[in-house]
């Protein structure tokens, strides 16, 4: 269910009308399938993922269909986006030698950002990244990428030696520290990467749900009207905040991907 559905199912439920506050819950993140193929259920988040993918692919394909030396229109906009990712995310982490990873980072950034920003676009109002499977799948892609880059650039033994031996530690404490380094590099990193994106989008969506449901629930010709107005203002403020957070989370995910790739490229941290 989206915000709109929550409000309509809350229906005529208002303050003092007897029924309780329709608090958003886990149920609001479960969707009725749009259609099913066998046991596979095609739901709204899947639709949103495909939509984001299609928008990214079509946008960049159109923009660079017949690239001109002096960019105009779409190409101008696309170049602006690509240069922003290059100069703000890729170059600070990887330097100019990392430019070959630019296509990967650009697609990652815009794909995640689109999925996030759907949270705020009516009538969609749902971020696909608040379903844990989505950040998890993205993280697995990133994990496989940086591990294979590390193995290719440093050799399997050299790379795992670098992952297991922390820099600057005296040798006698290594048996105690190496397991932490290994665990942190192989398991904790991808885990925190996915959880960060997922938790932020889940929390943002829940906040919006709570306050938009409260706005409707408190709307009545009583003192509730005042609280309803306050809730509505909070909805507006949180929406503003979410605009920032959708961008920031896409940015952090891509920045950390670049950081992990740079760690895999260089033998010395």
């Amino acid at each position: 269910m989206s915000d709109v559905q929550v409000i309509t199912t809350a229906g005529g439920c208002h303050l003092f009308s007897g029924c309780g506050f329709p608090a958003p819950s886990y149920q609001d993140f479960l969707f009725e399938p749009i259609f099913t193929i066998g046991r596979f259920q095609f739901t709204k988040p899947i639709l949103l993922i495909l939509l984001s993918m299609a928008i990214v692919v079509v946008f960049f394909a159109l923009a660079f269909w017949k690239p001109k030396p002096v960019p105009r229109g779409l190409q101008n906009l696309a170049e602006l986006g690509i240069l922003a990712v290059r100069d703000q995310i890729l170059r600070p982490q990887l330097g100019s030698k990392g430019d070959r990873y630019l296509p990967f980072l650009v697609s990652l950034f815009f794909f995640i950002w689109l999925m996030n920003i759907f949270e705020l676009i009516p009538p969609i109002l749902f971020p696909a990244t608040s379903k844990y499977a989505v950040p998890l799948a993205l993280t697995i892609i990133v994990w496989v990428t940086y591990i294979s880059i590390g193995i290719r650039h440093q050799g399997p033994i050299g790379y795992f030696k670098n992952m297991a031996v922390p820099q600057g530690a005296p040798w006698w404490i290594l048996p105690l520290l190496s397991p932490i380094e290994l665990l942190s590099n192989i398991i904790v990193r991808p885990f925190t990467l996915s959880i960060r994106l997922f938790a932020n989008m889940l929390a943002g969506h829940l906040l919006l749900l709570v306050f938009s449901a409260a706005t409707w629930y408190l709307l009545s010709p009583t003192i509730g009207l005042l609280f309803s107005a306050v809730s509505f203002i909070v909805v507006l403020l949180v929406t503003g905040l979410e605009v920032l957070i959708t961008l920031l989370q896409a940015f952090i995910f891509t920045t950390l991907t670049a950081f992990y790739i740079s760690d895999a490229l260089e033998s010395v941290h």
């Binding site: 982490q93 600057g168 520290l177 397991p179 665990l183 925190t192 950390l256 760690d263």
Partner: protein, 75 residues
């Protein structure tokens, strides 16, 4: 051109930390506690000495702090 890392007045300035540094520290803290806390919990379960779990957690946290100092504070 001045030496890399030198400020406007010629004094050495450490390079600004890279953005991944903060997250690396967090992942060391989580990793250390999870690993040694987990080991302590398992041994405690096996030997029925419950206090091994918090000891493992503290050990893991201490080791993670040591690692952060070795890696980031002594450059």
């Amino acid at each position: 051109m001045s030496a890399p890392g030198a400020g406007r007045d010629g004094k050495y300035r450490p390079p600004p930390p890279r953005e991944g540094t903060g997250w690396a520290i967090v992942s060391y803290l989580i990793g250390g506690m999870a690993l040694y806390g987990g080991i302590g919990w398992l041994i405690g379960r096996w030997t029925h000495i419950a206090v091994l779990f918090p000891i493992g957690l503290l050990l893991g946290m201490g080791l993670a702090l040591a690692m952060i100092i070795f890696r980031f504070a002594r450059q």
